[in-house]
Symmetry: C2
Subunit: 153 residues, 2 copies
DNA sequence: CCTATTTTGGATAAAAGAGTCTCAATAATG
DNA sequence: CATTATTGAGACTCTTTTATCCAAAATAGG
């Protein structure tokens, strides 16, 4: 898998947050229910995002979690780096240690291109962009049910 | 990681085989020594490749393993599919089950592009191509030491 | 026929990833 | 102040991946 499960959950939750009113703290329990992710597990992941400064949290009643910046200023890569670290973008196809341009493997040139494509995709895509698309076309963030259903009531 | 470790080992071993004389059975022990991969682990992986018809094996003295086809007719994707299965090419960025074009998530369009790029790279690259490049530029397949060193003595 | 070499296959162990549970800390509300 | 809602943090369990080990089957060569 390209992204770890933690990372995918982090992305889905971030999209959820980006789709809500800015400034509003959302309880993690709400998200875990709507997104069908284990509450405790999601909590852990969001703690990482909080530690990395992507989210901020507030304890107690009416507490929860929210984005520190606008969704339009958060790229997917920010979340991927916060959760999975930079390996994806530095690591190699053949997984040789200390790899790079100076001491490449035969796959390096081709892999570097592909890796750049992945990097670019993650870097150029913002949360808001996906939220807009998701809303416009009612695309799903969970196994079943479209985008809208997540934000009802 | 994009590819599992098993898969990477399988690729490296396949490159090794493609670089040797066609028709010659190479003992797995040789490869595991040269490539610095655990013998037993590599054995398991190559058994999979044998089961998938990418390699054929021969027991006993002078036995070993060799490619069934010419290296120029084996694409990287063949090995990836044999070891990691098709998930990489069918699975989604957001990992939602039963995903596809009919019921996409907001990332689908972008991810599908990236995934196609990966697919194309793996599909268009043959073992021989990489072996040629590796020989020509003495590129490494192990932590240290170039291509040549693997095939000495 | 015997021995050495090599793959096959299964059992087992260690490490990493995914997920669960419990309790403490913080804050709102009556 | 007591209660309740919520995040924070750590221990713990389960699963998958990675790795090790061992005995059995096949084969070449003497
Ligand atoms: S040379 Fe490039 S592709 Fe190969 S292992 Fe190193 S970084 Fe990866
Ligand atoms: S819609 Fe596409 S990108 Fe999204 S989870 Fe499904 S296959 Fe993956």
């Amino acid at each position: 898998m390209l992204l770890s499960k933690s990372c995918v959950y982090g992305l889905r939750a971030s999209l959820y947050l980006a789709a809500r009113e800015q400034g509003e703290f959302i309880p993690i329990r709400n998200m875990s229910d709507k997104l069908e992710i284990s509450f405790h597990f999601l909590t852990k992941i969001l703690q990482q995002l909080t530690a990395e400064g992507i989210l901020e949290s507030f304890k107690g009643p009416n507490g929860g979690v929210r984005l520190t910046r606008e969704g339009s200023e958060i790229q997917l890569i920010d979340i991927v780096l916060a959760i999975d670290g930079p390996q994806l973008l530095t690591e190699c196809a053949l997984g040789l240690p200390g790899c790079g341009v100076k001491n490449p493997c035969p796959l390096h040139d081709k892999w570097a291109e592909t890796r750049d494509a992945i990097h670019e995709m993650l870097e150029k895509t913002t949360l808001t962009e996906l939220v807009r698309k998701g809303k416009a076309e009612n695309l799903r963030l969970t196994t079943d049910g479209g985008f809208d259903i997540l934000f009802e009531n």
